[in-house]
Symmetry: C3
Subunit: 326 residues, 3 copies
């Protein structure tokens, strides 16, 4: 744990470092260079969204500083990953490509809220040696999206039109290998809500800088999720846009982070990635009447299930939380 | 902790005292005189609703006596505050101003259930040194309101017509200062579901008898909630009726109860009060398809977030739960 | 705790025993003969559904073996009861009486998931000395049913048509004593999703083999649930089909398992059984927009409430979890 001993310039440099680490922590990487590469990917996709992500991550980290939360967590970027996603999500879900004061203000308030939620959920999950993953981001973003329904001074459309779920089977168009792999790469970028192949590649590069195993897991997880969706019969446009890749990608990466890499942990990770797709499809249906997106909730729920059970599996070895975040 | 040593008359007097303390505990005040003033406010608004509240609080406290729950909690009124609200809510949500057997029976069963929920949630939340706030009331009342949909022998309309949420922006009428402050005072009364300025003043008086800081926090919280709603663009009728005051009022009062009053805790309390409004708007939207009211769920969720994190904030000092309830 | 010391034949015999114990564990009976009688009841109702139940229970137990979960829990059948129900539920909710690959594959994946959920929830609930009851079954089954809405390669209708809840009072047809008791017996069978009087009797016989108190509680619980539904005014067809019996039956049986049988625990058990009906009606309403069945969720929620509070009731004695499962 570092202490702030330098002057204001050094403080600022440290703050920037914490923010970059926070961006990388979305994929469990504690490395500012990873964060820089991922951020570049965000600017490639949309500079407006990237800027709003930076505003939100600053708000989230500032909240931690002002409230006096644990400095060790702050310096690992753990107060940044949720708030960064809050900023990206709110600006992505606002359709027009212009800055809108309500989205900026909303990002700041929800980034603050996500930092509080991170501490709160972290405390509740501490006995189970599991972090809250991106639950704070999901809860804060869903709160704001729902709240919009009662804010007449905030003019933002819902992500989907609220409607009762339909269980009818629809005609499917075919999927080519090119569409499949484009979807798998975009899936890695979709973790940051970026529907863009270059952004996906830059995110992968960012992970690779820090850990080869994580980079392979991130891509393989996205392939597994996309493949499961093809087998179950999902719309080809959603598959091509990487919508079935990002949650499974996060799940497999997390599994090979929390369990020492081995044949056993890889198999369990693949099972968890497949179950993530089922949870995602279930959440998509149940969120339809509210018009909400599922974001990374499927990953959070699946990862929580499979990480909470650590210690009860005799076939794999779990990695202590402390040795991971340093 | 008192022992029941007297005869039946003394037992009855004690029981009445516990009920009055229970009424005051809704606002965290452990004082029978506060309870009496608040009860007077309830009778000013509607004697039928006040009587049904008294029936329910008796049922809730009797459950605790008969089941042999902890006598210390009983004597502080902690088995009363949820059941009192159950009685008020069910009789308020039943439209016509007449007694109806189903509401009376429902209040008694749900008051019993709220006492069980209080013990259960209290046990689950004990490691986090936080009480269940009014979650037992909200869960029990929502259970009964939803169950009505499958009871043909109980003829009670839903609180709102079930419909899919609309995210469209509506035309707003202006708000005057008079409407604003009427809303803020009514907000204090709305904690007890009383849409009445005199009732609101009597509730404030009841709190003032026990704690000046709580009384200021209750009113200030209501003002903050109402102000946030004005900024976000909420319908003026809801604002005037105090619908945006009561949850924030409870949150700020709770924050200055669980954290030693200081500049730091006041600022955190104000932040929590503002976030309460966002949670309230989010819940209002998500409960629309079921036609349910949000009641004091927004306060419960916000207060849980901000109270569970106690000990991680270096800027404020938390007050132990034990020293608060005596 | 037994060790696998024998050859493959003995291993298979043990595996069959664990499966039969698992079937009986749905009603808290740790006895292979009970399981055999209940399984006979399932075959009486529909051999296809019974076979799919057996496929799922094998998948659930195999998951526990392959993942290296605790062998003591496995040998008590605790990895079987949820997966058996998953198999029964998915094949029951698939309308036509034919085998369908998607249901078989879905059962196997969800049986695996239910075993993971059992370990995960068991760990979370351990401090409260309560098992997760049939929550793993309910969560896994609901996940698959919801996920169907996004699987075009799986052609299965929803259990109910998704619609917004209606709180209107409907005309009721009368109920005869014969319908009432048929409903109470069917209610015992409905725990295994069997709408069949002979199946209900065989389930009761299976429980009786292991425990007379449990058999009486199972039937009495079903009578109480059915009776409460009659008083509240539920449709007579649902009552006759045992839809109001099975959750209350499970609750009362659980209460007399977790609390030493006495007048006190019987009264609390009856209260819990009545509250189970209210929770069931509430869940039925809230699940309408998704078209989902409530299954045994009402029992899980009610039993959790009343079992978590053990130790706080001075009038009853709780039975340690360890001494129950052997």
């Amino acid at each position: 744990i570092k202490k702030r001993t330098g002057g204001p310039v050094k403080d600022c440099a440290l703050f920037v470092e914490y923010c970059l680490r926070g961006i990388a922590q979305v994929y469990f990487q504690n490395n500012p260079l990873s964060g820089l590469l991922i951020l570049t990917g965000m600017f490639v996709q949309s500079s407006r969204i990237a800027v709003q992500g930076l505003i939100a991550i600053s708000a989230g980290n500032l909240t931690a500083v002002l409230m006096g939360f644990d400095h060790g967590l702050l310096s690992c970027g753990l107060f940044g990953y949720n708030s960064f996603l809050v900023g990206l999500a709110l600006s992505t879900f606002y359709g027009p490509d212009t800055y809108y004061w309500a989205v900026v203000v909303g990002s700041i308030i929800m980034a603050l809220f996500s930092s509080v939620l991170f501490v709160m959920l972290g405390k509740i999950l501490a006995p189970y040696k599991t972090p809250p993953f991106t639950l704070p981001f999901n809860i804060a973003t869903i709160s704001f999206l729902l709240a919009m329904g009662n804010m007449n001074n905030v003019d933002m459309m819902p992500v989907r039109t609220p409607e009762l779920p339909s269980y009818e089977v629809q005609e499917l168009s075919g999927i080519t290998a090119r569409m499949f792999f484009a979807g798998a790469i975009r899936g890695v970028g979709q973790v940051f809500l970026a529907n863009n192949i270059v952004a996906g590649c830059l995110v992968l590069a960012g992970i690779l800088v820090c850990s080869r195993i994580s980079a392979v897991a991130a891509f393989l997880g996205s392939v597994i999720g996309t493949g499961t969706a093809v087998l179950m019969g999902s719309p080809s446009s959603a598959i091509e846009n990487g919508m079935y890749g990002f949650n499974s990608s996060l799940t497999l990466t997390a599994m090979l982070m929390f369990y020492a890499p081995s044949l056993g942990s890889t198999i369990i990770g693949i099972v968890a990635a497949v179950i993530t797709v089922f949870i995602q499809m279930a959440l998509a249906t149940s969120l339809e009447p509210s018009g909400l997106p599922f974001m990374t909730l499927p990953f959070c729920l699946a990862a929580l299930c499979f990480v909470v059970i650590q210690g009860t599996l005799r076939t794999v070895i779990s990695v202590p939380l402390g040795s991971m975040t340093t």
